[in-house]
Symmetry: C2
Subunit: 351 residues, 2 copies
């Protein structure tokens, strides 16, 4: 894509605007001197907007966002327990709504333990894998309900919906990703011994697509066993493909072992290109440290690298990634402000 | 309970019989000289039985098991990928069937990092918590189905069923457990921001029961965040109460950080006493090392301690626990056979 990229920017709540500010500076630095330009449209969405207007995401918001080529999101969500937010579920109404409406069926979450970053693991080994999390199905579809609420006879159900259509496309994406990586290894994570119907669909789909990728080595782990290996031998993983809920759980754990979710970037991708893909740090809005200028913008900046890569600018993406890696290697336990981290990385991108 | 305890013994498959053998020796040693006696009935159940007879768990088996006061189970499950087992789901048909039929609504999984045990965590701190996992509801109920199987239009659903009846009783058990522990802290783990119906039921139930336990400090974590804390700050946990699937995932992770599921014991408890409770190591049948006499029987022996405690013999339970703790403290990286570990622990119990 050459020319002007229309970028929807959703700074969001809490530390969102702070980290997005630095991410946008990194983006500018990365494309400076190239023939790519970004035209930004800010969208005021999140808890703050809800408190002001009562809206979470209107049809107009959604239509306007769809007119863009990509989305950069900071973090959304108010102060936990804020009574004024009791009626709203910003996560479901905004974040998940965007993922579903924009058909972000690949939730891409790379996990790298950068040299110089300390892990809570004593012997992490070389951690470099990517989780391909399904983003539009599973227990996230919002297909739940309850009867007799508040009585001793209440029943509350949640339905995980899995389709061949939905599973196959994300499994294909994961195989292609594995085939492009040096180790060419794919691990399906599910719970086939208990969730037998969904598990069977995932398993059969992986087996079928595997036949088209003889170069990719495939294995399977139950989700419970996968959490064990993530702390005892994370180096064994290359590409993990899994459902929406298991992916949610595994990627937070993956973030933790690789230096904290403060470093974890993610892409909510619509590989078809019918809708804009959305890039966001895995961390939340962290209201407790918001406004203090101390949030670490690294994950947001790494999300910009994923965005550039997705838009077909691998060189610019690599620039950002290298700058971040170099900064991380030297930061040690240094305490820096949000803008100091941004300055350091931006300087390296420009160098 | 004084007198003779009728104990159903299900050695199972793989290393099951080996570790159960040592566990029964530990049981004998623990009650020697007391007025408690165990009368054992062995049940041949598991993959081996299925291969022989085609039965997983017959109505007669179930009726016979119900005539007992408690169950000790080793591990069930054949060699993964064994084509002769393709038609059977031993886990669902045996292990889960027992949990459901015997109304084991509390799946109790203590996690202790014993002195002398190395953890994959660099700085684990003092790990001593117990997971109270719901055992008879959630996504484990087997309420799933699929249409158009094997076609591109396949849909496979899984339903998580949660009832006020089922959630309240396990939450009450967890509060009572927390109130009995020195730190008196209870953490609800769920995913209330996504699974809003089930999450709301769990949250309201915990809030309601909390009012009756002003001495217990309560907090809440999303399951993804809980996995982070399990590797960055496991010492923060005291009692975790959670649903069947989240509990499955968290307890494997908990086992991993506290020295491996080779040390993790569990109780499938029917607190009402209407049905026999079942005690089992968290580990599986490990067919790869079966028959070699090298499986670690520690988790099975610790399951005996849980069993004794449950049956109202806390002193005998403590004897077993102390013997195991002392053995663990000294074992270091020593390689011992199954019976050598058993010998060492049995000797300590008798001392
Ligand atoms: C905020 C929440 C709905 C979301 C999720 O569960 O997907 C978050 O945990 C994530 O991983 O992006
Ligand atoms: C074998 C399997 C069905 C079982 C479960 O998922 O409960 C196991 O993982 C466990 O934790 O006891």
């Amino acid at each position: 894509m050459v020319g002007t990229v229309r970028l929807a920017v959703i700074p969001g709540d809490g530390i969102g605007p702070e980290v997005v500010g630095e991410a946008l500076r990194a983006l500018d630095a990365a494309v400076a001197g190239s023939d790519v330009a970004f035209e930004q449209t800010p969208f005021s969405l999140g808890a703050a907007r809800y408190l002001e207007t009562g809206d979470v995401l209107t049809d107009d918001d959604l239509a306007a966002i769809k007119e863009h080529d990509a989305i950069l999101l900071g973090a959304v969500g108010g102060v936990p327990g804020d009574p004024r937010l009791a009626g709203a579920n910003i996560e479901r109404g905004l974040l998940l709504k965007l993922r579903f409406e924009l058909d972000h069926y690949v939730n891409l979450r790379p996990t790298v333990l950068h040299p110089g970053v300390s892990s809570p693991l004593a012997h992490p080994g070389e951690v470099d894998f990517v989780v391909v999390r399904e983003g539009t199905e599973g227990p996230y579809v919002g297909n739940g309900g309850a009867i007799r609420v508040g009585t001793p006879a209440e029943v509350a159900n949640e339905v995980s919906v899995n389709t061949a259509y939905g599973v196959e496309r994300v499994v294909r994406y994961a195989f292609a990703a594995a085939s492009d990586r040096p180790r060419k290894r794919l691990t399906l994570v599910h719970k086939t011994n208990v969730l037998v119907f969904a598990g069977s669909l995932w398993k059969r789909t992986v087996d079928a697509v595997a036949a088209e990728y003889p170069d990719v080595a495939v294995d399977y782990l139950h989700v419970d066993a996968a959490t064990i290996f993530l702390v005892t031998d994370p180096a064994r993983f290359d590409v993990i493909v899994t459902d929406n809920l298991f992916g949610d759980i595994l990627t937070d754990l993956a973030g933790a072992i690789s230096g904290g979710i403060g470093l974890a970037a993610s892409g909510n991708i619509n590989p078809d290109g019918r809708f804009p893909s959305m890039f966001e740090p895995v961390h939340g809005s962290a209201p407790d440290i918001a406004g203090k200028g101390i949030a670490d913008p690294t994950a947001a900046i790494l999300s910009v690298a994923l965005l550039l890569d997705h838009l077909g600018h691998p060189e610019q993406a690599a620039k950002v990634q290298r700058a971040v890696a170099a900064d991380i290697a030297e930061r040690g336990d240094m305490r820096r402000s949000t803008s100091e981290v941004g300055d350091a990385i931006v300087a390296r991108i420009g160098a």
